[in-house]
Amino acid sequence: MKKKDYTPLVAFMSVSILIPFLTNIFQVNFFLTQLTMSAYYALAALGLCLLLGYAGQISLGQAGFFAIGGYTSAILSKAGLDPRLAFVASVLLAALVAILIGMPVLKLKGHYLAMATLGFGVVIEKIVRGTPALGGADGISNVPSFTILKDLRITGGKADRLSNYAIAFVILSIVLILMINLLSSRSGRALRSLHGSEDAANAMGVNVANTKLGAFVIAAVLAAIAGSLMTHLNGSIGPGEANTMKSIRYLSIVAVGGLSNFTGTLAAGIILNFLSLRGVFGIYDDAVFGAILVLVMIFAPNGFGFAFPARFGKGAKK
């Protein structure tokens, strides 16, 4: 039986707990906000990691689901709905769209699937960019903060930096636990078998179509959660979040982090997005992610990624 290896989780949590202390020591507490944003982007990438790395289905449409999550939360909470309910609604909507889109589209393979999901992302972007009611090119701003419990809020304030950070990283940790559990369970095995041999999976009674759809929906839900929470964090969302380039970034992150390596993906997602948000890449922001894709394909094309070897339990994951 695949041993449930929680080492990656422990490693991740240790580092996450360490960070706020470090930022305090080095007087860079404002890093925490950008780290929090990076964490949400990494969450969306995590969904893609499950879908691509384990189920073997490529999707270039994660940004579309991120936007669905964000925009739905923004609109509903601005309209007066309790952000917690808005959150649930946005996740459900993303799941619904994922089912509707996934059912036909997952019959496709390889570059056809890539193109179809890319097309989905473009459609979402065009819709949010071109619809005045959705804020048009400017997006939606003044999104109210998300009160989880009495004093626990996701919001843009400086005072809430640490709690925002904590919330994001707790969510990531929980998702990581769920993913680790999933992979060593019966459904996880079925999911992993898709990547190895669909014929074998079929012959063993795995409903391949439904399993693919399940992975697709999970990925979409994770992206939507990320989009929704990020929107409350920033107080706004714009059509740029649905842009193709964002979807390609998620792909780069999964590629460099290691296709079936959750910790690698999280680390790559957080680090790369953090650097990007801090402006370290300057005007070469997009170019960096493009270069990453190219380099990973040259140097580590199989199973992608070369970061984070066995130390983080990558071996056990495979």
Binding site: V105, G119, F120
Partner: protein
């Protein structure tokens, strides 16, 4: 509906249809030779336009165009030699499926790099290219509909490209070698054809025709560092619509899409125009992946 406006839509459809058709031809050439979808195809069109823009201020227009086509073709060839060939999977054995996905992903990365490079060199502004004959106010008319002479250049160029490619693939040794290569790499090797050279040639060819399309349409559509991505999606739509690997189909499908897209403004707001092509793409992929004119036979034989 006003006849003039209809004529305008039709013309716009033909112009964009030509671009789409040529991009699709470019996709097909690379796909037939390698099995990969070259995402950077749209960037070749962009380079054609931008290079012509820059060169036309120091060279006579015809030379500028030829130079930009040649330079872009070289860029395509270099791209293949440096990056694609590096993975080596294409030239090992009989062109198995392994590695095709990785290479396609690599072209995504390369298209981004080309785009960012163009941004660095030409900046964010939209750039213009001089009209081949006359200027932006010149117009010809057929039966009351007015259009720019540039349109004739565009249609002519598209027809010429298609003709040249047909002749190349059917009658020249290199063209036949490329077709042999795509049908069976091992067989081609046995006949002394070097697969690596054929693959490089296919990229150079695809890049060249893309650039030609970019150069000839830029006077009317203008050009810009970021046009590549959406062009690539539409080009892919057209390629699949016409039957991936089938070039006659690509041309027909290109014009059909161009015209449908153009007339879609009647029903949809302009902001949603791009959605039309994606809806068509999804419809084709899901309902009839072989495309209008494709068939499993044709794509196996990989006829031009």
């Amino acid at each position: 509906m006003n006849q003039t406006i209809l004529a305008q839509y039709l013309l716009s459809g033909l112009i964009y249809g030509s671009i789409y058709a040529v991009i699709a031809l470019g996709f097909n050439i690379v796909y037939n030779a390698t099995g990969i979808i070259n995402f950077a195809q749209g960037e070749f069109v962009m380079l054609g336009g931008l290079l012509t823009h820059s060169l036309s201020s120091v060279l006579p227009l015809p030379i500028a165009i030829l130079s930009s086509v040649t330079i872009t073709a070289i860029v395509g060839a270099l791209m293949e030699i440096i990056f694609i060939r590096n993975l080596g999977v294409l030239v090992k054995g009989d062109g198995g499926k392994g590695g095709v996905m990785q290479l396609t992903i690599m072209t995504i990365g390369l298209s981004i790099l080309l785009r960012e490079l163009a941004l660095k060199v030409w900046g964010e502004q939209v750039q213009t290219v001089p009209f081949f004959t006359g200027n932006e106010s010149s117009s010809l008319s057929i039966g009351g509909a007015h259009f720019s002479p540039q349109l004739l250049w565009i249609m002519g160029a598209t027809a010429l490209i298609f003709l040249i490619l047909s002749v190349f693939f059917k009658y020249t040794l290199s063209g036949q070698a490329m077709r042999a290569c795509s049908a069976s790499r091992v067989g081609a090797r046995l006949c002394g054809i070097r697969a690596e050279v054929m693959v490089t040639l296919s990229f150079a060819l695809a890049a060249g025709i893309g650039a030609a399309a970019g150069a000839v349409t830029a006077p009317l559509t203008q050009t810009h560092y970021a046009i590549g991505t959406s062009l690539a999606i539409k080009g892919f739509t057209v390629a699949v619509f016409g039957g991936l690997g089938n070039s006659g189909g690509a041309v027909a499908a290109g014009f059909i899409l161009g015209i449908i897209e153009s007339f879609s403004i009647i029903v949809f707001p302009e902001a949603f125009k791009d959605i039309v092509s994606i809806v068509i793409l999804l419809a084709v992929l899901l309902a009839r992946p072989a495309g209008l004119f494709g068939s499993r036979e044709a794509s196996r034989l990989k006829e031009f």
